[in-house]
């Protein structure tokens, strides 16, 4: 029984040197070819994204080291980090950073809380639920510019806006007709921009939380209910912990979009009255002041800032993906 196997082993050993001399090369070549065959489908998309998103950013990095105002094209010269000093010393840029943080944090928080409440309301069965859901999603499906215009002119305008119109109508009905008719956008500009954004983003948060509620383990809730847990306890100890990752995801996706918001600021206040956020300020530095070097430096700083948000966001998304994978 052992003999044949020894013979085989000997034969293999005898074969050995010649094979090891030839095989690796063909094998690596074959493997390399097959690796590229696997990679090939990915490459067009990868190259395209790198060319269109990463190369411009490298160019921004280079431009940020030059003193360049397009009104004086002859005076373009290398200035090292001077643009960064200018930008960091510029009070409009610093105010823009504060405005961006304030606007993003408050809009995301408000939209998330409202979205959670609406999702909980929609999670139970009632007549006309599908219609109410559609009505709630509609604001999110308006073109952002149209939504901003709607708030600025149709709702908040001091003379013919709906809000003041209703105030006047109510005071004529119940009082002396002398209702206050404030100019909402100038009285509370950041709140006006924020309100329009909260109105548009609450449905998005609601949809994410609803997806979270749908994936809630039914058995655990039922068991807790049978054990006599109250609705409040079930929400606090079962639903909310389950929703945590979805709330985090909603907060991060909302932040990514609202940090970059341009449409609402541009439309409602044109960045005046202390509402200019970072994207709008950078747009202004290069599109109106034509200070290309400074705009680039501000852009680089904005990217550095967003890297912080991005690294947290990527971690949350990847933990969510692993959760989905382990459940599926």
């Amino acid at each position: 029984m052992t003999a044949p196997s020894t013979v085989n082993a000997a034969a293999r050993a005898g074969d050995g040197p010649r094979r090891t001399a030839r095989r690796p090369r063909t094998r690596t070549r074959a493997r390399r070819a097959s690796t590229w065959a696997v990679r090939a489908p990915l490459l067009p998309a990868l190259v395209f994204v790198i060319a269109v998103t990463q190369l411009p950013f490298l160019a921004t990095l280079v431009l940020s080291l030059f003193d360049w105002n397009s009104f004086h094209p002859g005076s373009r010269r290398f200035t090292g980090l001077a643009n960064y000093a200018t930008v960091l010393g510029d009070s409009t840029v610093r105010e823009a950073v504060v405005t961006t943080t304030l606007l993003t944090a408050s809009v995301v928080a408000a939209a998330l809380v409202l979205g959670l409440a609406l999702a909980l309301l929609l999670d139970r069965r009632f007549p006309g639920r599908a219609l109410v859901r559609t009505m709630l999603i509609t604001p999110f499906l308006l073109v952002p510019v149209a939504a901003a215009l709607l708030w600025k002119h149709l709702l908040l305008n001091p003379e013919y806006g709906l809000l003041n119109g209703v105030l006047a109508w109510a005071s004529r009905l119940f009082g002396d007709g002398g209702a206050p008719q404030p100019d909402w956008v100038s009285a509370a500009p950041l709140i006006a921009v924020g309100a329009a954004l909260v109105w548009q983003w609450t449905p998005f948060m609601m949809l994410i939380v609803l997806a979270g509620l749908r994936s809630r383990p039914y058995e655990a809730t039922e068991a807790a209910r049978l054990d006599g847990a109250s609705e409040a306890q079930i929400f606090r100890y079962l639903t909310l912990p389950h929703l945590r990752r979805y709330l985090e995801l909603g907060a991060l996706l909302g932040s990514i979009h609202i940090v970059q918001n341009f449409d609402a600021v541009f439309t409602i206040t044109s960045g005046s009255l202390g509402t200019a956020n970072l994207p709008y300020t950078i747009y202004q530095i290069f599109y109106q002041a034509h200070e290309y070097g400074q705009a680039s430096a501000a852009g680089v700083l904005a990217v550095l800032g967003s890297l912080v948000i991005a690294s947290v966001a990527l971690r949350v998304v990847s933990s969510l993906l692993r959760g989905e994978a382990s459940r599926g």
């Binding site: 998103t53 541009f266 950078i282 852009g299 991005a310 998304v317």
Partner: protein, 285 residues
């Protein structure tokens, strides 16, 4: 005994349910009210639209829509609507063409480090758009590509490609391996496998991806505002330039907003179920 005790509890539960249902309806109406007001105002005359207190019961007509489409001698919205359609449709077609093979290499037959590649795509969505805009603007100015729809097509493609790669990847990951294996045993080449086998299987997902990419492209303002002016102007840019005219414009503005938002509303409601999945880049199913 128990039946009697259960009675008040049940009716208490029913009142609570009714109250919460009414609350949901109230919330829905509050959120929808501005949109309803916009639709109504679009049908009013300019004088009624600017009335204070609001003229809710004013007669309805289509003058707002007529003057939006240029009946009053204003600029016609058609060129900008056509530009927006061209950019949205072309960029979405390009996105799908690039995203489907990429998603295949990230899920069905994954390359080494596929997770890193996937997260690289995602990270480009987190970079502030405005940071890369200046070099593009300078480059376009030098090469005569300013005010050209094809430049917008390229930029919108890169803007939406990460979204589409993530969505398509999450759809492909759900396709049973046996389907792909069967196709490969037949000796079909990759383009054939993608077009004849995988695309039909994930067709609903691809449709949702396409709709979401179209919406994002149609809505985009910053690129369009900076890189186009007259000939390549898109619908959102047209809308921002609309208010500068003097006099009453409210009904016309509402008509414009309704017309320009209508395609997005239709696409969004059609893709409703996949909307979250798309906008969370496939992280939520």
């Amino acid at each position: 005994m128990t039946a009697v005790a259960a009675q008040p509890a049940r009716s208490h539960g029913r009142h609570r349910r009714m109250f919460l249902g009414l609350l949901a309806w109230l919330a829905g109406i509050v959120f929808f009210l501005p949109v309803a007001w916009m639709i109504l105002t679009a049908l009013h005359s300019e004088t009624d639209a600017a009335a204070n207190p609001p003229a809710v019961t004013a007669p309805l007509g289509l003058d707002g829509y007529r003057s939006f489409f240029g009946a009053g001698g204003g600029p016609s919205p058609w060129p900008s609507l056509i530009n927006s359609t061209t950019v949205a449709v072309t960029s979405t077609a390009l996105v799908l063409l690039l995203a489907l093979p990429a998603a295949y290499a990230l899920s069905v037959r994954p390359v080494r480090g596929w997770r890193d590649a996937l997260f690289f795509f995602l990270s480009t969505k987190m970079m502030p758009v405005v940071a890369g805009l200046l070099p593009v603007y300078v480059f376009a100015g030098k090469t005569g590509l300013l005010d050209n729809v094809w430049l917008l097509v390229v930029l919108h493609t890169s803007m939406n490609l990460p979204v589409a790669v993530w969505m398509t990847q999450s759809f492909l990951a759900d396709v049973p391996a046996s389907i792909v294996e069967a196709a490969r045993v037949d000796g079909a080449r990759l383009p054939t496998v993608l077009a004849r086998v995988l695309a039909p299987v994930i067709a609903p997902g691809l449709a949702a991806t396409a709709l979401i990419c179209c919406i994002l492209s149609w809505n985009e303002l910053l690129f369009a505002r900076v890189l186009t002016s007259v000939t390549a102007q898109t619908a959102p840019v047209f809308l921002t330039g609309f208010v500068t005219g003097e006099g009453l414009f409210l009904a016309q503005l509402c008509a414009a907003s309704v017309v320009i938002s209508l395609p997005v509303l239709a696409a969004g409601l059609a893709a409703q179920d996949k909307l979250v999945q798309g906008l969370s880049l496939g992280a939520v199913k």
